[in-house]
């Protein structure tokens, strides 16, 4: 049973983390060169017009006033309006459309990593030094070593260009017009009962998820293998076998749950990497998610979008790590102590 005190303590710790990230982002954006008012006004704008924009945005206020206003707005999830990318649209609204796109890809990537990584790691540990172990280790090492910007085009080349099994880019075939409910297209198509559209969305999502999940899969399988090897050698495992319990039951009943603890840590940390990897994956596969939005916002100096996106990433990452902590205490109740 997970105690409320443990969860509340962890939730309270999210406050300084998010406050720290907000302060960090604010500082970095104010240290970076470029004037947002000039970006909005354009290169040929008059000095009076630029000054007028500075006054409207409060950029002429002292920096501590701007900092206080930024923190107060951030607490209310108000990141202001986009300067450039979606001019005059609230950042919250822009993120509402873009975030589900990236989340969907990251969730499928993570699922892919877990569903393939855990069995591969288990197999490697149970059949240590056998051919299957060597193959999974080679696969894991390759997965860790290959960067997304290289594996992405290779996967497109093989599965989209040569074999023609999957589409190379986009989220769904152009003939389908799906009104968003959650913004996660596979979910929306299923809820609307449009299975042809679901199939198209799933086919579009498979390659990006595969690419984003390869690294995760490799890391999870390596961690699962080493953790399981350690657990297999414990006295309680030997005792269970000595009592006549079959080796499969011993591993699954006594070993698996204990071996999962470090794997859960990796899964939590990996989620942050998946969100970061989304920037590259979205660019390679032409998906308009939060990753490409962040890159565009940095390029054109759209500060509110950058601030909103980074804070959203930080919030998601800390939230996933909170879930990891809660899962820990379920797997090993001693951790709560």
């Amino acid at each position: 049973m997970i105690s409320k005190r443990f969860v509340v303590k962890r939730l309270l710790l999210l406050i300084p983390v998010l406050f720290g990230v907000a302060t960090f982002v604010f500082a970095i954006l104010h240290l970076s060169p470029g004037d947002p008012a000039r970006v909005i006004a354009g290169q040929r704008a008059s000095e009076e017009f630029i000054q007028q924009i500075r006054v409207e945005l409060g950029l002429n206020d002292p920096i501590w006033v701007q900092y206080g206003r930024f923190l107060m707005d951030a607490v209310q999830l108000d990141f202001g309006q986009s300067y450039q990318i979606r001019r005059n649209t609230p950042v919250k609204q822009v993120l509402r459309y873009k975030l589900p796109v990236t989340l969907e890809m990251a969730i499928y990537g993570q699922l892919f990593g877990i569903l393939l990584g855990i069995p591969a790691g288990l197999l490697g540990a149970i059949k240590q030094d056998a051919l299957s172990d060597h193959l999974t280790r080679i696969g894991a090492l390759t997965g860790i070593s290959v960067p997304i910007y290289w594996s992405g085009p290779l996967v497109i080349l093989l599965f989209a260009q040569v074999l023609g099994w999957f589409p190379a880019s986009g989220r769904i075939a152009s003939e389908f017009d799906i009104q968003p409910i959650t913004g996660m297209i596979t979910f929306d198509t299923l809820v609307r009962g449009n299975f042809a559209a679901f199939e198209s969305a799933a086919m579009h999502l498979l390659l990006p998820s595969l690419v984003i999940g390869i690294y995760s899969m490799a890391l999870i399988s390596r961690m699962m293998r080493s953790s399981m090897l350690e657990v297999i050698r414990q006295d309680y495992m030997r005792t269970a076998r000595a009592k006549g319990q079959g080796s499969k039951i011993t591993i699954m009943k006594h070993g698996f749950r204990n071996a999962l603890i470090p794997v859960v840590t990796v899964i939590g940390i990996q989620f942050g990497t998946l969100l970061g990897g989304a920037v590259l994956t979205e660019t390679v596969f032409g998906i308009a998610g939060i990753g490409t939005l962040l890159v565009q916002a940095i390029q054109v100096g759209d500060y509110p979008i950058v601030q909103g996106t980074v804070l959203t990433f930080a919030f998601l990452f800390t939230l996933v790590n909170l879930l990891v902590d809660v899962t820990y205490s379920y797997l090993d109740p001693r951790i709560e102590q």
Binding site: G20, T23, I28, H30, L31
Partner: protein
């Protein structure tokens, strides 16, 4: 470390940050930069230090004990401890916070002189 000692440690760090930031703002203005530029850049650098320390403090509280136990488990000889880490980060954060306040006060003072 009792409460008074902690207070003194934080107070010294705040004063150090404040003095450093105020001096830097003055130095930048004297060297020919505008007051707005000096104020924004010094405040932002101090905020960077403060933000970093907030993240570091949370990280220490989140994972510090785990790292300490892990070190003991593998027989490491490092003297790193969660309490020391938190103390160091609090000092760093106080310097940052002091810097933010110092930069603001120096700006107000220089602005009223000008």
């Amino acid at each position: 470390m009792d409460l008074r000692e902690r207070g003194r440690l934080v107070g010294r760090a705040l004063a150090l940050g404040g003095a450093l930031a105020a001096l830097t703002v003055v130095a930048l203005v004297v060297s020919g930069e505008t007051l707005r530029f000096a104020s924004e850049k010094v405040f932002a650098v101090a905020a960077l230090v403060f933000g970093f320390s907030l993240l570091g403090w949370s990280g220490s509280v989140f994972a510090g004990e785990g790292i300490e136990h892990f070190q003991q488990h593998i027989g490491g000889r490092a003297d790193w401890s969660e309490a020391d880490s938190r103390r160091a980060i609090v000092v760093l954060g106080s310097v940052g916070l002091g810097g933010m306040v110092g930069a603001s006060l120096a700006t107000v003072a220089l602005g009223s002189v000008a």
